[in-house]
């Protein structure tokens, strides 16, 4: 008998807490430590395996039969603990059940649907930039990165106007809950009741406007693709993962472009780089930093033997800056070939809303670059702490019109 991750399997044990405030403040030295310690590490603090190199993160993401999601994609093992909310039918599901629900959301958020909403999303981005140009000095998080998705996504879903202030707090709970039972998670769940009640209500068919993404999901129940009881839970997935993620994605892009004026200038010179500038920000900042999987059997991964029922923590952000995979990984380069980054994951669970995120990012950066000459950071950026999401709470900026 050997303890998990014992010397027998050659897995280095690290005394690192990747859910600690100190870590969140500057994760990069620890990411490097995790990557360089070995292809697979063991984190004694939470008794989990960890992978931080690109190859292993990609391998785990692409072997869902061995590294399953059905036992939760946070630290909590649904086989041993009761989940804090009814599990997601897509994120926290495995094939074959996942295949069916995934197909529904893929259809609702397909490239064809994106073509239909593109003009609307682009017009809203222009309107947002109009408002920002009036202000000149503003908070790039609340006034831009939050205000823009809030101006389009809830409408695109078909949500009622009332109660939308619950959306970002609800998402914050969801993403904190993937973490360990630390203060962030406990407090988030304790305060979640009103947000959960709002979300459960909005997922019902009668509360979703015709033509929106939510109504389209319910319509799939009429087609027999899902049951009428599954539909609200699938709508919940969009409410959980469709807003705060794009807020952090847009924050990341604006923060990068404000910090690296040479890249902003390149974008100004060639606005067709907007989509790439957004994608590179997703690689560079990795708004979703981590996810867990659970092993369904004993498995050997890059020489490490991992037993059945073990949690494996994937450091997406560290993989996105692994020098084994990326040239100058710590540079934000808007012309980089980013294909293959794992900021949206990879494999069967790869972000189903990635096309919405890219569309929002592209049209927003296009509108900004067209009409703004300079974005300057005008005060100390403040970080927002979350067990899974990396982003800012506040980013004071001053803009100069073009």
């Amino acid at each position: 008998m050997s303890a998990p991750g014992s010397a027998l399997s050659g897995v280095p044990h690290l005394d690192v807490d990747p859910f600690d405030m100190m870590f969140f403040a500057d994760p990069y030295p620890t990411h490097e430590l995790l990557r360089e310690a070995g292809p697979v590490v063991y984190l004694d603090k939470w008794k989990v395996y960890g992978v931080a190199r690109y190859a292993e993160v990609h391998a785990v993401l692409n072997d869902p039969a061995t590294f399953c999601s059905g036992r939760g994609v946070g630290l909590s093992d649904f086989k041993k603990e009761t989940p804090w909310r009814p599990p997601s039918l897509i994120l926290e599901a495995d094939p074959p059940a996942h295949t069916r629900t995934r197909a529904v959301l893929s259809k609702v958020l397909s490239p064809t649907v994106m073509k239909q909403v593109r003009d609307r999303f682009a017009a809203a981005a222009e309107e947002r930039v109009d408002a920002l140009l009036d202000k000149r000095s503003f908070d790039a998080i609340t006034d831009l990165a939050e205000a823009y998705p809030l101006s389009i996504f809830p409408d695109a879903l078909g949500l009622k106007p009332e109660g939308r202030e619950h959306l970002i707090p609800y998402a914050s709970v969801v993403f904190n809950a993937f973490g360990p039972p630390n203060q962030l998670r406990q407090e988030a769940i304790e305060r979640s009741m009103p947000h959960q009640a709002y979300v459960a209500e909005q997922c019902q068919r009668e509360n979703l406007a015709p033509g929106g993404f939510g109504a389209c999901i319910h319509a799939q129940a009429d087609e027999g693709a899902i049951t009428a009881t599954e539909a609200p839970l699938l709508v919940r997935s969009l409410l959980s993962a469709g807003l705060d993620t794009t807020v952090n994605g847009i924050s990341a892009a604006v923060y990068c472009l404000a910090r690296f004026p040479d890249q902003w200038q390149r974008l100004r010179n060639d606005i067709s780089l907007a989509r790439g500038a957004f994608e590179e920000a997703v690689r560079f900042e990795s708004p979703v930093q981590t996810f867990f999987r659970t092993t369904t059997r004993e498995v050997e991964l890059s020489g490490a033997r991992i037993g059945e029922g073990e949690k494996v923590l994937m450091f997406l952000a560290a993989a996105n800056r692994d020098p084994r995979r990326w040239d100058k990984p710590d540079s934000y380069d808007i012309t980089r070939r980013t294909s293959g980054h794992v900021g949206f994951g990879s494999g069967i669970h790869m972000c189903v809303g990635q096309l919405v995120a890219r569309l929002e990012g592209e049209v927003m950066l296009t509108a900004l670059a067209r009409r703004i000459a300079k974005i300057e950071i005008a005060g100390e950026p403040k970080r927002r702490f979350n067990n899974t999401l990396r982003g800012l709470d506040s980013l004071p900026v001053t803009i100069t019109p073009a």
């Binding site: 893929s106 397909s110 989509r275």
Partner: protein
């Protein structure tokens, strides 16, 4: 190893060597070819590795799956009868010499 040719919208072409078991998309991105974005990295989710297959080769490719078919309806450039996603074309020795035309745009 089989080599395949990508023809750009301006008529220029690139002949690239593939390595064992990779898709046309992977070969293109590995060589840094312009015109294949592959935003989703080969997960059949984004339709940004769209190609037009040379007519002579079309029938020699494996049939497309439903998800590829659905995504092709959303390509940025017009879908034509010879449209495919290059991430779904695995390069086997029989495809040595395959010719793929790139669309005007991927997004």
């Amino acid at each position: 190893m089989p080599a395949i040719t990508f023809i750009h919208p301006d008529g220029n072409s690139d002949r690239i060597e593939t390595s064992g078991g990779e898709s046309a998309m992977q070969a293109a991105t590995r060589h840094g070819l312009d015109g294949v974005l592959a935003e989703c990295g080969g997960n059949t989710m984004c339709a940004t590795c769209h190609v037009y297959v040379d007519e002579a080769w079309l029938a020699r490719l494996p049939a497309m799956a439903d998800d590829e078919d659905a995504l092709l309806d959303g390509t940025a450039a017009a879908r034509l009868p010879n449209s495919r996603l290059s991430c779904q074309i695995n390069i086997t020795p029989e495809l040595d010499g395959l010719v793929l035309r790139l669309p005007e745009r991927q997004v």
